[in-house]
């Protein structure tokens, strides 16, 4: 009985995931214009609360490795390789934030230290199990962008 429910749930979740995936823009097809990506990468609007989780998670965005955010003071160890993101949602429009998170090199130039989170333009000798994979999914990028928009000055 219980395992039957689990199977039904699992199937419907995977169908949902499959459906979302079909609408995602592939990493190579993202269109950049003037340092911005105006089209959303997925059909589902970004969720700021989910984005905050992705932002903090060391295995996902790990954004605090390089950025300070005053609103996240409870998290230990904010890096300063990049600028503080306080007010990033005021300084940048959503389409620009999407471009920065998707592939920062398209905005800041090839020398930037910031990784591209939804890009296959990566370094050499990528770890075998990560070849052809992006750091974040399209939805995670949308969620992070929604979170960044909450960082108002």
């Amino acid at each position: 009985m219980q395992s039957g429910i689990a199977v039904v749930v699992a199937v419907s979740v995977s169908m949902l995931a499959g459906a979302a995936w079909a609408e995602d823009i592939a990493p190579g097809d993202v269109e950049f214009a003037d340092g911005a990506v105006s089209a959303a990468l997925t059909g589902k609007p970004g969720d700021a609360a989910e984005g905050a989780k992705v932002f903090v998670d060391r295995k996902l965005g790990n954004c605090l490795a390089c950025h300070e955010v005053s609103a996240l003071k409870k998290q230990l160890f904010h890096g300063n390789v990049g600028p503080s993101l306080d007010g990033a949602g005021t300084r940048w429009e959503p389409a620009q934030l999407r471009a920065i998170v998707t592939d920062s090199k398209k905005v800041f130039g090839p020398e930037t230290v910031m990784p591209g989170f939804y890009s296959l333009n990566v370094g050499v000798n990528v770890r075998k199990d990560l070849v052809g994979k992006t750091i974040l999914t399209a939805q995670q990028v949308e969620d992070v962008v929604a979170y960044l928009e909450t960082l108002k000055e």
Binding site: D34, G35, A36, L64, A65, C66, L76, F77, H78, G79, N80, V81, P83, S84, R91, W92, E93, A95, Q96, V107, F108, E111, V113, P115, G116, N121, V122, G123, V124, N125, V126, R127, K128, L130, K133, I135
Partner: protein, 284 residues
């Protein structure tokens, strides 16, 4: 305001932010160990991206710095002692120890480690202390080469490097093809690896002095190796450390002593020209 103007203004703000953080202070303290002052800042050699080369010690927390400064407390000194034991212990089919050929290391090995890696005319490639030890073991002692990072390899390397304690690092790039290995190492230093798309230079040059999470980024110098790392509670070899940094970019790690890492060792060691050998340094 149109989008491009917003972008420009923001980029300018970023540039200002960068300038503010740029010199998140390596300390200005002096490192004196057993009455000997270490050279922790040296004018960079010609062709170096920095004006001054800085020891990783200057970037560490006060407790870590204090531990290195006190040779009684420095856990790395136990490995120096262990290395001395190995130096004097017979091993292999020919019944010899290192001391059988080289006698007293404090004389015969004095300042030797400060000039490695050097050109090895026989194998026609650069050789480091670990590989030189293996060469002596296999060719002179009839013993087996050490496995990479075997405890005895690290202890003996530490002991030999310790005979150059305080001596400034200086490589001879004029010998053999050392220069072309330096060239290759330089190329690798600036090559971005892994899914995170970062080069050595992204962290140790462009971001030097900043924090990446809890870590204060140094110039990534090799002068303290093998180094006692508190996090691992063990000695860490240079090749282990470089492999770890490469792994952190989410790349496949090259093998220890591979051409790739030997070239990097030559180039990275050169980048620390003039710094004292600090082995056994202490790092977090």
């Amino acid at each position: 305001m149109n989008k491009n103007l917003v972008l420009l203004a923001a980029v300018a703000a970023v540039a200002v932010g960068v300038a503010q953080f740029a010199y998140a202070d390596p300390v200005s303290d002096k490192l004196v160990i057993d009455g000997k002052e270490m050279i922790t800042r040296a004018p960079a050699p010609e062709g170096h991206p920095f004006k001054e080369v800085l020891s990783g010690w200057l970037f560490r927390e006060p407790e870590t710095r204090a531990l290195e400064a006190d040779s009684f407390a420095n856990p790395g000194m136990l490995y120096v002692e262990r290395g001395e034991e190995i130096w004097n212990t017979v091993d292999g089919a020919k019944g010899k120890s290192c001391a059988s050929c080289h006698n007293d290391a404090s004389e015969t090995m004095k300042d030797v480690g400060a000039h490695y890696p050097k050109w090895d005319a026989e194998t026609k490639r650069p050789i480091n202390i670990e590989l030189q030890i293996d060469k002596c073991r296999t060719e002179q002692m009839g013993a087996e080469a050490y496995k990479f990072d075997a405890a005895d390899q690290k202890a003996l390397t530490t002991y030999i490097k310790y005979q150059s304690f305080g001596t400034p690092v200086k490589l001879d790039l004029a010998k053999g093809d050392m220069q072309s290995w330096w060239d290759r190492g330089k190329k690798e230093y600036y090559t971005r690896t892994g899914q995170l798309n970062l080069a050595c230079a992204s962290c140790h040059e462009a971001s030097m002095g900043r924090h990446i999470r809890a870590d204060h980024l140094s110039q990534g110098q090799a002068n303290g190796f093998p180094t006692y790392r508190l996090k691992q509670a063990d000695m860490v070899s240079l090749h282990n450390r470089m492999r770890g940094c490469i792994r952190d970019t989410r790349a496949e790690m090259p093998k220890a002593f591979s051409d790739e890492l030997m070239a990097l060792e030559v180039y990275v060691t050169w980048r620390g020209t003039g710094l004292s050998v600090e082995t056994p340094a202490v790092r977090q």
